[in-house]
Symmetry: C3
Subunit: 400 residues, 3 copies
């Protein structure tokens, strides 16, 4: 299918969705958006991808900056955001603030304005401290809104949450778009069983945003979601509430189990991934706030010892055989801890990972388009007409 055919398919979908409220708005959490709005993101992402595959330029900016603000080193997120910006014509300017606990109040307000004089988009990753990341993003967003309203900024930059302490919307939206394509359409997801499960990793303190984001999003897509983890590895209470409520409102189910076997049995989709217990992450944030670094070291040792009790939480071929048709779709946000490859014991057996490698790369490939679609929908007053005009104009991205 070339882009013209794809447009014929996608434009009518977009015309039937209500997403006017996305104009001028930021993207923080998937559950703050309506299902129509999320579908609009998927559809615009697919359209941008189809255009690019057909060598049609999707630049909507002749100039302008995309600011990336990361709290730690992040090659993949950095490249996804840079790719999304490039696709739309924005130039990325990185703002690295180091791993220190982020400043608040005056400093945030000031920095947000000082870097945004020419900024059309700002992507923030801040997932390290419980109760901080999302709050920080809102502080930045409020500062930018005020900066625009008072004439300091010529435009209001669109904020995209590239991972916070609560959700990881660009990851889980890419994951779900991959699932939709894999099963041949969102309508085919009805009744599918998803196993979002903890898995053992020799490293410590992996963020909660992925499991939380998955249970908060996949429960809205017609699927039955099981969250599995050893006792003590609970996620945020209020995200559990979101997942339960989603399931109730969408006629799907959501439940928690402490057995990986239980979760994998007859699952259509499995997402085995390590994370740190919410309570431990909260404790770490408190220790950090008190500057108690020996306490943090002690906590780390305890957590690693606790992890080591659950080495059997590994996604093996034997376990994969218990899934629907022995053939569930294996998901991961990457990089995975692969047993005998990246570590001795990890989240997944090498034979499983290898079998799904191309699919995993494909899964990751949706992210830049998801980010671009979020920016596009916030910036465009009339996204449908714009997509049509990009298509009609047919400017080559690359003049072979």
């Amino acid at each position: 299918m070339n882009h013209t055919e794809i447009l014929k398919e996608y434009i009518p979908i977009l015309r039937n969705l209500k997403f006017e409220k996305m104009y001028g708005e930021d993207f923080f959490l998937t559950w703050e958006k309506s299902m129509d709005e999320l579908t609009a993101v998927f559809t615009v992402a697919d359209t941008l991808r189809a255009l690019r595959e057909d060598n049609i330029s999707t630049r909507i900016f002749d100039s302008g900056l995309g600011i990336s603000l990361f709290r730690d080193n992040s090659t993949r997120t950095r490249f996804s955001f840079a790719s999304a910006c490039n696709l739309l014509g924005l130039t990325v300017q990185d703002l690295d603030e180091g791993k220190s606990q982020i400043a608040h109040g005056e400093t945030v307000r000031e920095t947000a304005n000082m870097v945004s004089f020419m900024a059309d988009a700002i992507g923030i990753r801040d997932d390290m401290y419980i109760g901080k990341g999302n709050a920080y993003m809102h502080e930045v967003s409020d500062a930018l809104k005020e900066g625009f309203e008072t004439g300091v900024l010529e435009q209001r930059p669109t904020l995209v949450n590239l991972q916070c302490d609560i959700d990881h919307p660009t990851q889980t939206m890419a994951d779900l778009n991959h699932v939709i394509h894999h099963f041949g359409g969102a309508e085919n997801l009805k009744g599918k069983k998803v196993a979002m499960t903890w898995a053992y990793s020799p490293s410590y303190g992996k963020p909660l945003s992925v499991p939380q984001g998955v249970i908060g999003l996949f429960t809205r897509a017609g699927m039955d979601v099981v969250l599995a983890h050893p006792e003590g590895y609970e996620v945020m209470e209020n995200v559990l509430d979101v997942a339960k409520q989603n399931a109730q409102q969408n006629g799907t189910s959501f439940r928690v189990t402490h057995s990986m076997q239980d979760a994998f049995a007859d699952a259509d989709i499995v997402y085995p991934k390590s994370w740190a217990p919410f309570s431990a992450m909260q404790k770490r944030t408190d220790l950090y706030g008190q500057g108690d670094f020996s306490g943090i070291d002690q906590l780390e040792k305890e957590l690693l010892a606790k992890n080591a009790e659950h080495m059997d939480w590994e996604c093996t071929e034997a376990l994969m055989q218990t899934t629907a048709g022995g053939n569930a779709l294996y998901l991961h946000c990457l990089p995975a801890d692969i047993s005998d490859v990246s570590c001795k014991h990890g989240e997944v057996a090498a034979e499983v990972f290898d079998r799904y490698r191309t699919l995993l790369y494909k899964e990751a490939s949706y992210k830049p388009y998801i980010i671009a679609a979020m920016i596009f929908l916030s910036k465009m007053k009339d996204p449908v007409t714009k997509l049509e005009s990009l298509c009609a104009h047919g400017l080559e991205r690359f003049g072979k």
Copy 2:
């Protein structure tokens, strides 16, 4: 006012100014430029801003690099330069040389050429060592001129001084443009009193380029300038001479006082800001040259102790009440040391800072446009016609 109306106002102003000599030239110090040339910078900056506000592209480059060369970490200057380059269509490439005292001679000549094969502009910040920064910029400029003349470079990059040991032209030009707009036009500045005063800061060794730049520039804008500082906090002798000469030639006044109260009394504009004594900075440069790091530590301690004797040099509300109408325009290059916010005792009381916050951000927002205007005027053979053609062409910056 939309950009068409603004152009109707600005183009005639530009037509009456003599600034042909800016073509192909660098920007080092404001007092090396005529008042007509500085007015051209303000006018072009305002025009570029009006065009951008009206979503008209001001790209004059289809491709090309803007090189940024900073001697220390500088988020704000980095973003200002990146914004200016982006506005004109240049891509920024950073050259970070670390904080070491900069190389001279062969090395400067070579590096300048090696990074400039595709460079149309180069922005340098080098304010750390007395007698070095400005000299270094001239070495780079001479090397680039030679590189162009001998056919090594296809074009001669325009050098913009982003802060040196003597002047900080992009900052003070942004400050003055803010003042002009605040008072409704350059013609309204006649007879206004400006207080450029030292203020206490708990940190050490803040550069002299801002106070020096302000007294060297504001004395030419029809205003009466008072420089206030405790004894021992003198600025460069030859910049004092520049300020005196400016005042004489422009029928304004310039004087030095050792009383903050004296400076603030009936002032229309106040600029309270910490800096290190010129003699101490010169001593530090000498110690650095000798590799005497314990001497530098000792000097730092002495300076901090000396600073602490002048904690009463703070911009308080009480002091603000003594200014003209109790309502002087408060300026700062940011970030400011705000008492009880960023430090215990600082340059300015929180209540004063907060009252002027939006104006301070607005002040900062002029800088990218000032930098862009400096590059524009150096690159364009006929800047007026080019502005008219950008306007007539009316290419959207951002295709909403």
Copy 3:
């Protein structure tokens, strides 16, 4: 000559060359390319330069990324690659992996894909470990090919070797293009004598890729090549074989001598430059693999002591007087160790270096165009028609 005249000269040359196989291919080693293909690179590089000199845009990309992957700090290579990308319309995104010995297998495959979703070109510099750099580039290339074929990537990025353990093709091609221009055409190189000689440097472990690349390339250009070094400073055995075979096939000569005087005598071109012995570099790689850092320190001391025995291997004026007409063309990849300038004793006397300075800068100026030409020839299905259309279209790079 303006670009129209240059095109009249260059297009017929290109029409007579066979280089169709470069389409979609990477550039690893010069001796993997035919002489027609190398000539195509020179000719396209010269054409791109002529277009740029005449202010004609050579952007073939409206958007797209160029990924730079460096194993160590490299200002010059970074800027050359950034310049080449900018010339073609690509935005550079840097991937810095630090100096650690590079990962293999799974990790390389994954990272290569994760950074390349929007990548049209990828430039890699990895020259630090024998047997690793070139192998790593092939791993990346294979991963990208597979990523493209499996639909993970929308396009296959072109890989350019920016320096590996075996060859430094962008450097030596720039060097040779400089030589061609200096002597007024490739046809004038017949019978010229080239002295690629070791020279003393107080620093340790300089890469072998330049001498290896030079003997592997210059032996194909009609010139007689002499490789000179003290005993013990041998280069890779198989590159010596390449040089010998080239000479045989091209009716030129290649020999090794242990006398700098012998090499310089009546030479038309001299390239005196320090490098580390191949066997020592191999030993270092082994020690690194074993994590034997004290062994590495010990090796470094031994090598510096060994170097110090050959301080007389310096390019002096006296030695230059023994070259053809006392006037050989002096080459260097820069930066050079200049005696009494950058170090006490170095590779070259200051008076020699200074006399050739402008020519050396000119030599370096070819590199961005060589890199751009390599990308251009890999990306363009019909490069000749594209060059003609860029010329006919005549879009200004910079709208003066």
